[in-house]
Symmetry: C2
Subunit: 415 residues, 2 copies
């Protein structure tokens, strides 16, 4: 049996999620007696967390004062990807007041990456985005011990294992910090401000460079005993499939992910099987050759490095939109693989929604249609009777949004 | 954030799980102040739920009185299987004071089955097992809306869809009732008194006539949005596999379950591929023929029905113990199928233990070894670093034990 959260948490979350509210309405909404509510409000005003915001419209009797989260509140939200740093500094309502995004290789290790995160955050202060931070939330692309605030055996993050990320951020910025897995924060973000708004039980499936799943059950993220719940990219879907980076064969993400799709698309372009992709490849090559011949470019001499020509998921999506059958086939095959795994997970966990996000979500309705088809055909009918399979609404902002939610929850809990 | 359960619930559960405890120790264990504890105890004594039980051994100062659950408390625990009714009437500590077990076909419908359940419970009263019941807990072999207390679209229970099981049992016995899925109550039972004692995150996999999974996460059963979480028997494991009773092809339980194993074992016995099974089949046939020829048996004339000869999982287990290679192969193939699905579920849910129960658990260590091998090889290393895969300790009593736990929790919550 779960008892309701403490009154101060409920007050702060309501003001965060809905904006200024009158004292009278707060009392009604949270079912708090007037003296209890007034005491809470007074305490939170004294703590500098909330402030008065003028008078509410009359409800017939005396007009009630509006309260809101203090305009000074600031949260830092950081989303570390395999190859990028995304930062938002937000106000109490989690609206961004400063945004930074730049490429960064997570493999350069925690010192260098966190140094850069701190530089960007200090720059935000210099830019006037905040005076002081109330909390920092950060997502990293690997398993995390949420309790300890450290990454745990993250496969693509050499040097990060048990690195004290939470402790160092908290010390640097003089406020609470919280660390979570990148897919978990995307799920939290999507629930706060996206298509899963107020949905308690859903799966957020990120299909990008790799594949992962955020599991939201009973209103909260389920992280597993070792913090690696939802790590579905290495589920074996074809014992005769290609060898995966993890050493096993036929893992889901060895068959369908940004990396796998680019590899297959390049092959289809080179063989000419896909006219749409072959055209793009030729155009990229021409552009690269031209760039190399221009003054200031690498010279046309012998030691010029071979230009790296890549076909991307975007090219496959565009090819499919033009009706290129190979592009459509590549997307459908991928959707079938993902759908097969999701059918199993739906039978197992009986969620009320599946959200598809990550870079490959740009493959759009062809991908969705195939995933839906497999899930609806293969899962238990009772579990799919009313199961929307939809695209993320927040897209690339899902991660920072969730990191901001976690940061604010942490600040509110410690208030 | 979850706040601790109400004090009276914590007192009652502690006395249920650990027996008589002194007032002084209760206060220490539950971290309640002395006045708060005394008030709770007084209230529960007045409500007839707990009673004094003599003096505790001295702890140096004044001796403290022991309290215990009232000796009069009685819970009814019912486990409905596809072909059986199991009932225990227990005292407050969930020790059985009366036990009934008989065959029953769940397909005969809710009226007939519940009539029989009520007859057995009234017989228990006549037998002196109780004066009145404090709660009834019942498990059924299908999805359940836990909130509504009704089965929902249960595939093998014609006539039971949304039948008001909870309401009718509560009315008949004048006490609260609670309805859950049969695998969920097995998981709850195993956590109360079996190998998963005090484990918060584990999967209980029942392999019997069908296959199902009880999901225990964060200290509580996860039932899913429609009550069908854990329904893993119809996960497709081989697109070219046999047609399942559900209409799809290659479902897990079409490839390995009590029914599937019996079918394959019978084929191996008839073809002579398995000498051990062929011997058993011959012995069963001889016994059946002899029975038919005996006075009082069906006569040897033309309209005598063909005797139904079945090879069971027990025969396969015995054959494997004797070293019959076909029997060992059948078990290993089944273990490999189940292991493949569990590897996926382990990567997804990162539990801290897997418990194997149900009728086919008698296949023992050959089955376990194969399941372990596949799970350890195919799941994420972080998730299997410390993941015991073990047999149920409670065996056929897991279900009624869990039903008793649910019944007592329901009674305590309403106290």
């Amino acid at each position: 049996m779960h008892v309701a959260d403490a009154p101060h948490l409920r007050v702060l979350r309501l003001l965060r999620d809905e904006g200024p509210v009158s004292r009278a309405e707060l009392g009604d909404r949270l079912e708090l007696t007037r003296p209890r509510l007034l005491a809470e409000v007074e305490r939170l005003v004294a703590a500098g967390l909330i402030a008065e915001a003028g008078m509410a419209a009359s409800r017939g009797g005396r007009r009630s004062t509006l309260v809101e989260l203090h305009p000074r509140l600031r949260f830092a939200a950081v989303d570390l990807g395999a190859s990028s740093i995304d930062i938002e500094v937000t106000n109490g309502r989690l609206e961004p007041v400063a945004t930074y995004r730049e490429p960064a290789d997570i493999r350069s290790g925690p010192r260098q990456i966190l140094l850069r995160v701190n530089e960007l955050l200090h720059k935000a202060r210099t830019d006037g985005a905040y005076d002081r931070l109330d909390a920092v939330g950060i997502g990293v692309p690997g398993p995390v011990s949420f309790r300890d605030g450290v990454p745990v055996s993250p496969p693509i993050m050499p040097g990060w294992d048990r690195y004290p990320v939470r402790e160092l951020l908290a010390r640097e910025h003089g406020c609470p910090a919280v660390v979570d897995n990148d897919v978990n924060i995307m799920a939290i973000g999507e629930r706060h401000g996206g298509v899963a708004h107020s949905v308690d039980d859903f799966l957020f499936v990120k299909i990008g460079t790799g594949i992962g799943c955020g599991i939201h059950l009973g209103g909260t993220v389920y992280r597993g005993v070792d913090g690696c719940a939802g790590d579905i990219g290495h589920i074996q879907v074809d014992p005769n499939g290609p060898v995966c980076s993890c050493g096993n064969t036929g893992c889901l993400e060895a068959l369908f992910s940004g990396f796998a799709l680019a590899r297959e698309a390049l092959a289809a372009a080179r063989s000419g099987e896909s006219p749409a992709l072959a055209d793009r490849l030729a155009a990229y090559q021409a552009a690269a050759n031209q760039a190399a011949e221009e003054p200031g470019g690498a010279g046309p001499d012998g030691d010029r490095p071979e230009p790296v020509i890549t076909i991307t998921a975007r090219d496959v999506a565009d090819g499919a939109a033009e009706g290129d059958v190979t592009c459509i086939r590549l997307i459908r095959e991928g959707g079938r693989r993902v759908g097969g795994v999701l059918a199993t997970l739906v039978s197992f966990s009986n969620p009320s929604m599946i959200v598809i996000g990550g870079g490959l979500a740009l493959l759009g309705h062809v991908l969705l249609a195939e995933i839906r088809s497999v899930v609806y055909r293969r899962s238990l009918p009772l579990a799919t009777g009313n199961l929307p399979v939809v695209l993320s609404e927040l897209g690339s902002r899902a991660g920072v949004t969730g990191a901001a939610v976690l940061a604010s929850d942490t600040a509110f809990e410690q208030a």
